[in-house]
Subunit: 343 residues, 2 copies
């Protein structure tokens, strides 16, 4: 910029004024400056600008796993929204690890991100402290966080699982296995509540042997399913509370020599683009990923636009049960399944 100013024979202040349009500069000087900028190939240094302005036009986004299609989709939408608004996005994957998450958030704050979208993991206390210190707006994604009073976008997990389990019960299932993720994040808690309440509403007992926990990965779903299937009185249906784990469930069913839905029905949380084309077509709870991402982005963009001290807003979106053919009516003849599902 100094160089441009010299070539155009003006002061740096004038160059800055022209570039930012913060003051009117005469046609002659404007032309000289623009020419100089072209000649030199000058590009404004965003770092210096950030230092002076105290804003980086960059936000931080942390998710547990980027390979989980749910987060992939949400990240994609968020990325697009901020792209449109002229922001860059720094992406971090915490791998469901608390320390990693803290490190990454600190890293982001050191770099003066203007805002943060966090699908938090673990206890919220540390997150709260980190975020209170740095004075940046934070939007919580997918997971609420006790004690951190800030904008939040979540699903009505309890209701969604309630509906799914009720559907299984209506099909005649009485022993329904449930595979949960670790319990320290709110969705897993709420989903479990939905499971229990659906059973209770139907007057069915809650049997702890039918509930297994895993750490969100395929292998965990595999192990949990193996345990469920080796019970003396094995469940007739399994619900997996997360999306990568259901792959493990299907593998376990295959490896043990059973077939879905003939021998065992399966449903799960989170929808896949390919769910309705490969067999069995999984019955799933679809999250409105587009809306979730857009709402999260909007909440943060609104704060960034200056609306700092509005009270925290919490958006709860609804899931949708996508009924396909991976769950069969219990007791009904097998042929009935094909009929009950219309392509």
């Amino acid at each position: 910029m100094l160089h441009v100013a010299e070539v155009a024979r003006v002061s740096v202040a004038t160059v800055s004024a022209l570039i930012n349009g913060t003051a009117t500069v005469s046609p002659e000087l404007s032309q000289r400056i623009e020419q100089a900028i072209r000649d030199i190939g000058y590009k404004r240094n965003a770092i210096a600008r950030s230092l002076k302005m105290g804003t980086t036009r960059t936000i931080g986004l942390t998710v547990p796993h980027i390979t989980n299609p749910f987060f992939t989709d949400v990240v994609s939408v968020i990325q697009q929204a901020f792209d449109r608004a002229g922001y860059a996005v720094m992406l971090c994957c915490t791998d469901e690890d608390l320390n990693t998450q803290d490190d990454q958030i600190r890293l982001l704050l050191d770099r003066m991100v203007d805002g943060l979208i966090v699908a938090r993991v673990g206890d919220g206390a540390i997150l709260k402290r980190i975020v209170d210190d740095a004075n940046v707006p934070v939007v919580l994604l997918d997971r609420v966080c006790e004690g951190v009073d800030t904008d939040t976008v979540v699903l009505d997990n309890q209701r969604a699982v309630f509906d799914a389990i009720t559907y299984l019960i209506d099909l005649g299932h009485r022993r329904i296995g449930y595979i949960s993720g670790s319990f320290d994040i709110s969705p897993m808690h709420d989903r479990m509540t939905g499971y229990r309440e659906a059973l209770q509403a139907a007057g069915l007992p809650i049997e702890s042997e039918l509930v297994r926990f895993g750490n969100f990965h395929e292998v965990d779903g595999y192990a949990a399913t193996m345990q469920l299937l080796s019970l003396h009185d094995r469940p007739s249906a399994i619900f997996s509370a997360n999306n990568p784990m259901v792959i493990g469930t299907m593998k376990a069913i295959r490896d043990i020599g059973l077939s879905c839905p003939d021998d065992i029905s399966v449903a799960c949380f989170d929808d896949f683009p390919w769910s309705d084309v490969f067999q069995p077509q999984l019955t799933t709870v679809a999250q409105p990923v587009k809306a979730i991402g857009e709402q999260a982005a909007n909440l943060l963009l609104d704060r960034l636009a200056g609306n700092r001290d509005a009270p925290p807003r919490k958006l709860t979106l609804k899931g949708r049960l996508m009924i396909r053919n991976s769950c069969r009516p219990l007791g009904a003849p097998l042929a009935a399944i094909a009929q009950s599902v219309s392509a």
Copy 2:
């Protein structure tokens, strides 16, 4: 930092020296400074540091689509590698759009990223110019780029498709449909070459009616497949050159009332984690995503570590044909398929 210096009754230079370990500072002062840092809760401002040092410890990563599982996996690996090395990653999705890509790369360079990993789209000329100006190391991912002479990690696409098509031919297929992505990126070019060469090697004609183009998305695969299936002499097998498009292929097959592999065989590029558990189990060309991501990260980290003027390195990795049950031997009885695939 000024504040810390005041509280500890030393100069900022000393504080800086202690923090960075660039000079020895006496035990007493060290202790006073550390105490002050703790009391104040001081965190070094990475932006100011970047401005002075000319390095941000941040890299830019642009991919066409984050929802494509191949890129998702690669991004994940790259992210982890740079995380370990203490770098932040700015992620951009170009959506296969040339202008978007250019804007984003400029955005990244303005922000003084230390390096760039790019799965480029479109013509390389603009990319080359942008990158030559800014003097940052660039690694090309997945796609080579004529005229841009820099580190590159790609797959041997030609060979991979050659093997896959040859496999189909060996099964007895003679009319093999091929669905390509847009031709302006190298992998699509090379994959097509693999297709042609496999046909030629088998003495089969190359019929242009069997080749369709799409823009990488599911809908494109759907449309292309519809066209292929409505040919008067329809192909007995279809190969899809990219991963989201094969979903469209399967949907088209379903909607038209056919079945895979009974009526038509399908194979595609890129593997899915669920490929071997849902039916039909897709025969795919698996890319070594982990190796690709790691190699790209290593190449860039090596440059960042100072190895600037080593000649450009080009790494070509091998794909692996994952034979499952979505392709059936032509003419053989259907029952043979199940046997030929061992779980």
